[in-house]
């Protein structure tokens, strides 16, 4: 703290006298911001006009405070869940994914001659959530958010991370149970790869369209033939884990390269 000004200087400052030179005034003001004692001395040295003004404002404050509601004391940035409203919006999608996976688990259990349906559907589990992450329909404030500097790949990744955090445990749970036991890498890697693919494709055609397209393509090209022939598809054999990992990394890298396009990504 700078040295205390003299009482005389404080009085002259309080009186608003133009006689004090600028440098002194500056020192006093800097000092007063930090020193409660000198502020108290200042209070003693105020002019009558100041004191009247302060009293009048006090009375007006009394009226305004009495007329208004009592402010609620709560931490400003409340629990992240509220702030990340998105989780609440996502819950229906996650529940749907869980229901589908649960049904798939039941089906696999009751139809043991078929390959694990949970494994077949695993890559598609997060996609509905990712589609919902960047959609005008699920995000009511989309028009507002789209014009902010934060709109872009970071926001989308944050929301996608929430989707993955919610969906992957469900997937792991169903995948680890009983007849559905499958190599966890074979469940999770395609999941991540498809998520990255949705984002990458989404930077070209829109995230929701990309998600739907990928879901349809996978269902038609891999799931249906696999169920028809009752054989595990080549893409989901244990040997494929390595290529899936590489694919995920490549897709993620490409998505990051296209980060700039996400700033103005439209949704349908």
């Amino acid at each position: 703290m700078t040295t205390h000004p003299t009482l005389g200087e404080i009085d002259r400052y309080a009186a608003g006298e133009p006689g004090l030179d600028e440098a002194t005034v500056w020192s006093i003001e800097v000092h007063l911001e930090g020193c409660a004692d000198c502020r108290a001395r200042l209070a003693g040295g105020t002019t009558a006009a100041s004191r009247t003004l302060i009293t009048e404002v006090a009375a007006a404050l009394d009226r305004e405070i009495a007329a208004g509601p009592t402010p609620r004391a709560r931490a400003f940035f409340r629990t992240p869940v509220r702030q990340r409203w998105f989780v609440a919006v996502l819950l229906p999608w996650v529940v749907m994914a869980a229901a589908v996976l649960g049904t798939a688990a039941l089906l696999t259990h009751s139809l043991p001659h078929l390959p694990s349906i949970v494994l077949l559907l695993a890559p598609l589990a997060p996609l509905p959530g990712v589609a919902a992450a960047w959609s005008r329909r699920t995000d009511p404030a989309w028009e507002l958010i789209a014009g902010t500097p934060s709109a872009g790949l970071t926001m989308l990744l944050r929301r996608t991370a929430v989707v993955l955090v919610l969906v992957i445990p469900v997937l792991a749970a169903f995948g680890a149970v009983g007849a559905n036991r499958a190599n966890p890498a074979l469940m999770l890697l395609p999941c991540l790869a498809f998520t990255a693919a949705t984002l990458l494709l989404g930077s070209f055609v829109g995230v929701a369209r990309a998600a739907i397209g990928l879901m349809v393509a996978w269902a038609a090209a891999v799931v249906a033939p696999s169920l028809a022939t009752a054989e595990l598809p080549v893409l989901l054999t244990p040997a494929a884990a390595g290529p899936w990992a590489l694919g995920t990394v490549a897709l993620a890298a490409l998505t990051l390269l296209r980060a700039g396009t996400f700033r103005r990504l439209t949704s349908f």
Binding site: E143, A151, R263
Partner: protein
């Protein structure tokens, strides 16, 4: 006390807050803004035009929400067309669309603070800026009420609060007076004039009297092009008693539209 950075004191050389040249913007498949030239500086500018004139699309393009299909667009000296980085312009921008969605369970304060955070305001400044924005729009009594409990006029004021929370240099409001009662409309006009002292405010409206009362400058668009730009009094001078309208400004407005339509059919 604080330090003043060199960047802050670098002289600004852009003469216009908004500078559009031959701007083309699509709305769906339709080319809603077709070859628009516009230069706007500090002050309150009223954007007038019939329905379907491309006002909303223009404002969306200026808010960097819609990507221009062609032409040049510069906001506050930085280009925002093509592959330019949009973040500097967006930080100094405030936007309120006509149909703005909101999160019903958020309170006014949370909503405005969330938008402030999204606009990349320093986290330490967000609470004070939120309170200031809420006070400026007159929602102090309802700051902790949920958005779904607010009436239409209050909701729109909450929307304006989120638009001004970052003290923007460029403020874009699409039909902000819809749903406001006459007293609220007067308050909004005063707020707009306050904001217009050191920012560029563009207000799109279909109410001519709003424009005349609050705006220093009127921009008339039709069919995606700039029709006329000038002071509200000059707008009044464009028409005479022969044109439909209850006020000089309305008559001037109809006169200009009629003239433009006549020329278009020629």
């Amino acid at each position: 006390m604080r330090t003043v950075s060199t960047a802050e004191t670098a002289a600004t050389i852009h003469p216009w807050a908004i500078h559009a040249q031959a701007l083309r913007v699509r709305a769906g498949r339709h080319l809603a803004v077709d070859g628009l030239d516009l230069s706007l500086g500090t002050g309150v500018h009223g954007l007038l035009g019939p329905n379907g004139a491309g006002k909303t699309t223009l404002i969306r393009a200026l808010a960097t929400v819609a990507k221009p299909a062609g032409g040049k667009l510069t906001l506050l000296g930085t280009p925002v067309d093509g592959r330019a980085d949009l973040r500097p312009a967006r930080r100094a921008l405030g936007y309120l669309p006509q149909h703005f969605g909101f999160y019903p369970r958020f309170t006014v304060r949370e909503f405005v603070a969330y938008m402030a955070w999204l606009k990349e305001m320093p986290k330490a400044d967000v609470p004070a800026a939120t309170q200031r924005a809420i006070d400026r729009v007159g929602l102090a009594a309802k700051a902790d009420a949920r958005l779904k409990t607010l009436s239409g006029g209050m909701l729109r004021r909450a929307g304006i609060a989120q638009a001004i929370v970052n003290d923007p240099q460029l403020l874009l409001l699409d039909e902000p007076t819809v749903g406001l009662d006459p007293e609220q409309r007067l308050d909004l006009r005063e707020l707009l004039r306050d904001l217009g002292t050191d920012a560029c405010v563009l207000v799109s409206t279909h109410l001519v009297e709003d424009v005349v009362a609050a705006c220093t400058d009127v921009v008339l668009v039709n069919e995606g092009r700039l029709l006329w730009q000038g002071a509200p009094e000059a707008l009044g001078a464009q028409g005479d008693a022969g044109h439909p309208g209850d006020s000089p400004a309305e008559r001037g407005y109809s006169a200009l539209l009629r003239r433009h339509r006549a020329e278009a059919t020629r």
